[in-house]
Amino acid sequence: MKKWPLITTIANDVNNSKTTAVELVEESLRLIDQNQEYGAIISVLKDKALERAKFIDSEIKSGKNMGRLAGVPFIAKDNILTIGSETTAASNILKGFIAPYQSTAIEKLESEGAICVAKANLDAFGHGGSTENSDFMVTKNPYDKTRVAGGSSGGSAASVVLGLAPFALGTDTGGSIRQPASFTGCIGLKPSYGLVSRSGVIAMASSTDVVGPLTANVSDCALVLDVIAGKDPLDSTTIDRQSGSYEDIDDNIKGRKIGLIKEYLSDSLDEEIKQAINKTTLKLKSAGAEIIEVSIPSLDYALAVYYILCSAELSSNLSRYDGQRFGYSDKTAVNLSESYFKSRAKGFGTEAKRRIMIGTYVLSSGYYDAYYRKAQLVRTKIIQDFHEVFKQVDFLIGPVTPTTAFKIGEKSDPLSMYLSDIMTVGVSLAGIPAISIPMERENGLPIGLQLMTKQRKDKELLGLARKVEELI
């Protein structure tokens, strides 16, 4: 497991010619090659990355500063479009699809000199919490190869922990950044909904999808967020940044009120996780924070609401994969409807089909009111409840997952897989920012602590995260 210096240090060294972008990219490519057994990477952008690295080095030689991420290699989840290279969302239906335009997040990173070296594995289209639903391979946990790395951003999380690159981009729809970060022991930030543009990100559930960084430390996380955050004319749901830099964070927690969510500390929570949380809570208390137990009763319904709304949106978002313009198209079909049926039947995996069925059902006439509309009402209630609780406390903390990383193949029943999202989906429905940060562990598997706060208070969230990082 390679440990990279702080990203700021790397970029400074590149800009000051202490090292070169080519050396960094070559190092990253070498590590990717060495760690193939983990199944973290779908495709490597070797030629493009080296070409870009050479360009950056030559610009620096001619005296230019190439930005805050100059020469820094990174890995993007393969549902984020990288112009001119394959972007598959880990699905057979998009295998071989070359992105003809650039996603905003990648564009912003590249404009600060970062270099995308590879595309990371995921559950196809983001449907899952273990990357076992990838149509290509399973990503293995760097701490135990018989266990999952989590998902859907499992490839991104494993990449960061294995040190394949200093940082990775993931997407979080119901916990897809936080849960794999928790399972593998890296930092995973789900920013406020709308803080990072979704333009060029293959949609799962449009109303909760967010792009965020996975990093080895909070400083790197803040830097990457600072580069990718902000309003984008190509995405109408984006929101304004907070003023100032996201790197300019205040980690003073004296007198801050932190709520411990009662609903997340039930008996079904692993004892090990419960103890880790208790320990961290005590440390926060001795650092001057006030810990209050809070209740958000509507969270009991979050999982059900999430799986209705998310399936509804994704069933719609996946309609465009019809075999007519791009992606897999079945050539044995003799007419239009057969082309639709065969292309989609063969192109989509089991989980995508299951969710398309659920989503189609809950939107069908006669069922819309009972499922979709009711779920929207409960979602509003959940948002209100979070709003209420943030009148009492500045932050919320809790576990990310009920268990540590489970065994590959252990959760064959889709419902038990859905249940592992139970502590992350509430935040997604509310659109608030949350981060998973690794806690102290004794010989066991990584355990993440979930920190949450009000919408558009991502900077404050990073402040608390840095404090936790320091205390552990």
Partner: protein, 494 residues
Amino acid sequence: MEKLSKYLYKGYLPTIGIECHVQLKTETKLFSGIDNDARDAKPNTLVSHICFGLPGSLPVLNEKAISLAVKAAFALNVRPQIDSHFDRKHYFYPDLPKGYQITQFEAPIILGGNVKIKLSDSVKDIGITRAHLEEDAGKSTHKEGKDYSLVDLNRAGTPLLEIVSEPDMHSSEEAKAYAHELYLLMKYADVSDANLFYGNMRFDVNVSVSKDQNKLGTRSETKNLNSFRSVEKAVDYEIKRQVDLLEKGGQIIQETRGWNDAKQKTFSQRSKEEAHDYRYFPEPDIPPTKLDNNFINSIEATMPVMPEEWRNILKPLNLDPSSEDLLIDAEVEDANINYLPVIEKFIDSKEALKKVTNWLINIEIPLRRDNPEVKALSTKERVDYYQKIYDLNETGSLNSNRAKDLIEDILKSDAPITDIEKYASDKGYIQVSDESEITEIVRQVLADNEKATNDLKNGETKVIGFLIGQIMKQSQGKANPAIAQKIINQLIKL
């Protein structure tokens, strides 16, 4: 209460509601910055990743479309909704790239409104149920005998306003008048090019018939009519078809029908059983639209004079109905030519107004219609021209025939005619009203035509016409005939 008996066809009351798709005249598409004018473009050249429905592409609402919808609301005599939002309407078809159409289902931008339609003997209000914004699909071409179809996505994403009327019409005359009035409203409000030939307005007519006037029959919907005449004909055809079917003991099925213009017949396309479940839900990629009252008011303030208002302006002139319709239609035939501002200029003098209006109706409008190459003149230029022509006519220097010649010359002239009076005089259009000059000519003519002069002296007044003709000939048409007659009378002492 409207008297419905006049509408009965073989004892059945027809009821008609119309849905109209109006293409909005925005520069770019509804959700992408791609050129909206696909008329002369090669297939699939006006397509972005958004129009193509590529993975990761997101719609961004064109605010101009919102402004135009607000204008349309005022044209339909209603304030737009403060809150509206877009929904997704799902179905699979190759010309619908995303697998859903973005439309306003639950909360449209326009609710309510009405359209005053002009009938031969009356004016009637047709209620508007709603009007919503949506994106158009692409265009599919199915070639006869080929095992493939072609899809052109240039049109995909073009902004449409779908205007849904109440079922307030009961005859094809009313349906046609409604379609025509809607066309005028959209043109006057400058919401759409409303070019029917290019499909800028497409009408779907819902027709049902019922013996029970308090109960609607089962309706058919004939889609995609692109002329006022086809609206009229399709309604007539459907009324007759449905009544005949019912009379024969048959049943009407709720279905979608098409219109065969060559055969002047509707034909079945799809029955209700085959109808889609569109699975509408709010479009999560576009935040709900919230209009600011100041914004609405600022658009209201720019609303032009609408046809109804213009009809009121023209009322005192007692034009025959076809002349009035001609003027109102002509006003929006060419975006560069406006007749109303010219007419408005003369509004204070009823005499002048009447004359200028007649010149427009009888000379300029027909001339422009027959000669599309006639160049546009600015309103100011035209007001100045008509003012001068009117003045010359009023003082007797220019008779009506010469006025017509002069107007035609002005319109057809390649170079602008700067000095009208000089031009008219050089062309010999100006009448001589100088009495001494005319007296000379009269004397000469009387001397040259001894017999006629004697006849006149003997009281045969019918020869006056002949003598005046001779005077006009002698003066090469310049003599003012009224003055010539006066001088004859003086000289012969009638």
